[in-house]
């Protein structure tokens, strides 16, 4: 009963390095999201996807790219990491519905950029 799985759980990068965070869900959900969580600021939406092959920008998309080549996977990429991207990243998924507010979250990926 995996739900939403994120890899890696921890990563340390140097400024300018690139990396990809992987999110996988086994609930056959159409919608997937990437959030970042910073102290005192709550969860902020980076990018989201409403289905395989689709992506869209959220509240704080700059410096990130995403891809959804398969329905169960949603990748978040940092092409040139900056210290401001030090954060905890959460992936989530949900089913479409009239009011989609029940999201299923992964356990998070803690990223430190030096």
């Amino acid at each position: 009963n995996a739900g939403v799985t994120q890899t890696p759980k921890f990563r340390v990068l140097k400024t300018g390095q690139s990396m990809t965070l992987l999110c996988a869900q086994d609930m056959n959900h159409e919608y997937m999201y990437w959030y970042r969580q910073d102290p005192g600021m709550g969860l902020r939406l980076i990018h989201y996807s409403v289905g395989e092959g689709t992506t869209a920008k959220g509240e704080v998309p700059d410096g990130y790219n995403v891809s959804r080549l398969k329905k169960q996977n949603f990748l978040l990429g940092l092409e040139s990491a900056a210290p401001s991207q030090t954060s905890v990243y959460f992936c989530a998924s949900s089913s479409p519905g009239e009011v989609t507010g029940e999201l299923f979250f992964g356990e998070g990926s803690r990223l430190t950029v030096l």
Binding site: Y31, Y48, T100, L103
Partner: protein, 111 residues
């Protein structure tokens, strides 16, 4: 601008000491108000959805209520296992699934 504000930022309770958390929202229209629980080092876990003023939902020692401008999460006779950060979020009318979260209230319940 739509905004969700939670108070207090932190709350320390003795076991059995009931209290309430507040979530106030200033939005042009509300399609849903949601409560989540987040344990340290974990992702948020869904608790409740409230759709209209006057609505109430309960789960064990937690009860969520909704008015036109705010929501409350009441914790009755809390136990140490209720220690967590509680997040509220709303769904704006012009947004299908992009929840806007508050910063959360960190609750610590001591024996």
């Amino acid at each position: 601008e739509d905004q969700v504000t939670q108070s207090p930022e932190a709350l320390r309770l003795q076991e059995g000491e009931s209290s309430s958390l507040n979530c106030s929202y200033t939005v042009s229209g509300l399609r849903g108000l949601f409560w989540y629980r987040q344990d340290p080092g974990k992702g948020p876990e869904f608790l409740f959805t409230l759709y209209s003023a006057g609505e109430e939902k309960e789960k064990e020692r937690l009860k969520a209520t909704l008015t036109k401008k705010e929501s409350f999460l009441h914790i009755t006779a809390p136990k140490p296992e209720d220690s967590a950060t509680y997040l509220c979020a709303h769904l704006p009318t012009d947004s299908w699934g992009k929840l806007q979260f508050g910063a959360g209230t960190q609750v610590v319940v001591t024996p």
